[in-house]
Symmetry: C2
Subunit: 426 residues, 2 copies
């Protein structure tokens, strides 16, 4: 292949159209292939990842050198880095997805009609999925695996820093496909760092059925604004914890600490704590002290600023995704006020109520419309693996088609199969 | 209200934004209202339609006069016309939708996880649906009913010819909402004939969640091109009938005649007949003779032109939606060729195979990806009522979210309700 970085924008557009056409053609074959062949392709890819570990790690070393030269942060470099252990985890992930029930052709519903028809609704692949992500090479394998499992072709556009690592992983996926007699072009990696390729991908409605962006708000916002292809995404996760008047003190403490501190940089981390007025001096005081004790900066409203160590929240702290050891905290008069706050400032991602009052939990579940609502559980569970999907290609906060953690099943559409016996409509 | 036809484009945009904001606010209330209240609102609206029949018919007379002055075709005027019988059918339709199971809050799936979480996936309304249609006033009632049933607010933009009729029907729906203690703004009619209102509706992503266009190819194509809001639609229904080598002669005759001639102007009407080479001189000859006998113009390929009465098909007749007493007809060498033809020329709407060979039917079902695939049944069954959905707001050929006949259920999204017991993520 010639160096794709030397291409003109027209050349890039042509290259992307070629990739799209090949993906569409591969999707038609993959979508009607046997489930067993798709499973074998994934298992073979997992085997090859371990077999080729040294080569993949050498490719990753090139990326790491490039990343250091670009002065990437330590956190970014850590996301980029591969190791034998990480490769083993990636291979295990492929096998876990391979072992799941095959969604393609599975029956969603079946019924008989008085007109004599027997109707069955079965899952079908969507077609071609475009995945745009930042530097984590493991997304290459996760996204590739979920798309193959669901019978979709995938076009991967990883961060420029991870190009060599992703290419090495994609080679394993393609070899797995070939070994199972399936078209290699079902998995393709955009072979250029040029951003014109992203712009082309976002507008190729002829070839691409859905775009999944994975990364920071900048990337996702760009994709949501510029895409003409439908997008499954969440712009941000402004997750709320509401401590109800009837919260259990011990559960409130444990869940809030976990929701904020387990990992602060993920979309399921809690960003705002709402406390019922009646328990501010009891449970509220203890939870806030524990957060501060764990190194969290608590930005409180006027009432909470009376508690030791609480700093003043600014107006812009409500609805803010900190992705850091910071939490906004506010007192609310009742559950209605908590719900109103979340409706105003939430991002429709994940919220949790802590209460022993079943009625309050039911109201929280009914009157809020986030993708995930939790009762006495940590918002950090917002994850496809934790939900039992094997893996996730992303989390969606839109309301069309996919919502919450997006696994293989949500990468499918459906069709109706209708059987009669010479049946005509009167 | 001042005459909305005298407004400037800016005024129209402002008016549409107001309508959108009111719809969004009403949707929040409607979506969490009790199922029983939504049911009562529809039943009350049905009662009012019969009670106010004289007023509605008077409004319709105004529209008919306007339509005649505009020199509408007889077919268009027939679609526009209301009568006591048609009003009774509309009221019955509302009651049928009211009587259906309520989709909102219904459980799609529920499972337990080893991490201690109990997860339930329940249906939620989408939010605000925009419906853009031509002159049939009954769409006003059908679309309004399905949106209310599914907890969605609706903004209706009917054809300019049906403005008075639609307004009279919308008044009944709004009065029904008020009687049930629900916000009237859950059903709103755009009160102007100005096309700027349509352009505003198509781009109000802040207020509108989905657009459903109902009408001819011109309207749907315009909506698909200009909308920034997601669209549930089919551009056209190029439905195919394939007579397999193992077709039953009697079923082939009956189904093909029904699929083409029952109603030629609907999207489920057959537009192309594919005949296996082995049965051209037997079943094919009889079916074509019967079609011609029923007044259908058969445009055949070179082989079929040898049969009496068949005229020559032109290249542009493949994949063409005639919506008339015309059918294109072609001989294929085998089922693979039939499938290839449909993949090339079909519109992903509805196709039917006539065969007694279960393997051929299975191949047809597996290798085609139209919204509806049929075996030994007429394509004219492509209809939400026939599928058991009570009514339909339209038929979708896209692959995201809604597909095939769109009833109340497909006007919903979902959310996850997750219950723990102080559960935290390790």
């Amino acid at each position: 292949m010639q160096d794709p970085n030397c291409q003109s924008p027209d050349d890039i557009a042509q290259m992307m159209a070629d990739i799209g056409a090949r993906a569409k053609s591969a999707a038609a074959t993959l979508g009607t292939a046997r489930a067993d062949d798709r499973r074998r392709a994934l298992e073979e890819a997992a085997r090859l990842i371990m077999l080729r570990a040294d080569d993949i790690l050498a490719a990753n070393a090139q990326d790491m050198a490039f990343g250091r030269a670009k002065d990437l942060s330590v956190a970014m470099l850590d996301r980029l880095a591969l190791s034998k252990d990480r490769l083993a985890a990636i291979a295990d992930g492929l096998c876990a997805v391979a072992a799941q029930d095959d969604p393609v052709g599975s029956v969603i519903a079946t019924w008989d009609r008085p007109n004599g028809l027997h109707i069955t609704r079965v899952r079908t692949p969507l077609g071609v999925i475009g995945v745009i992500y930042e530097s984590r090479p493991n997304v290459t394998a996760d996204a590739g695996a979920l798309c193959l499992k669901s019978g979709n072709a995938v076009i991967l556009r990883g961060g420029s820093e991870s190009l060599h690592s992703s290419a090495a992983l994609v080679a394993c996926l393609r070899a797995g496909l070939a070994a199972a007699g399936l078209p290699e072009d079902a998995v393709q990696l955009v072979p250029t760092r040029d951003r014109a390729a992203v712009r082309a991908l976002l507008t190729m409605t002829e070839y691409v059925d859905v775009i999944v962006p994975r990364g920071g708000k900048g990337l996702v916002g760009l994709v949501q604004t510029e895409a003409r292809v439908p997008v499954f995404a969440h712009l941000e996760g402004v997750c709320h914890i509401y401590l109800d008047a009837a919260a259990d003190p011990e559960k409130a403490l444990r869940v809030t600490l976990n929701a904020k501190t387990r990992r602060t940089g993920i979309c399921g981390a809690a960003e705002c704590l709402l406390i019922h007025r009646d328990i501010v001096e009891t449970i509220g005081r203890d939870v806030i002290a524990a957060l501060i004790g764990a190194g969290v900066e608590v930005r409180g409203d006027t009432t909470l600023q009376a508690l030791p160590g609480v700093v003043a929240a600014k107006e812009e702290d409500w609805g803010r995704e900190f992705l850091d050891s910071i939490i906004a905290a506010r007192v609310v008069d009742d559950i209605d006020a908590a719900i109103a706050h979340i409706r105003q400032f939430g991002s429709h991602h994940t919220e949790s109520i802590l209460t022993e009052d079943a009625g309050a939990a039911a109201q929280f579940f009914a009157q809020l419309d986030s993708a995930i609502l939790m009762h006495n559980a940590s918002t950090q569970f917002a994850d496809g693996g934790e939900f039992g999907m094997g893996a996730e290609i992303g989390i969606a906060t839109g309301k069309l088609h996919a919502r919450g953690p997006v696994g293989a099943e949500q990468l499918t559409s459906f069709k109706y199969l209708v059987t009669g016996n010479g049946t005509i409509r009167p």
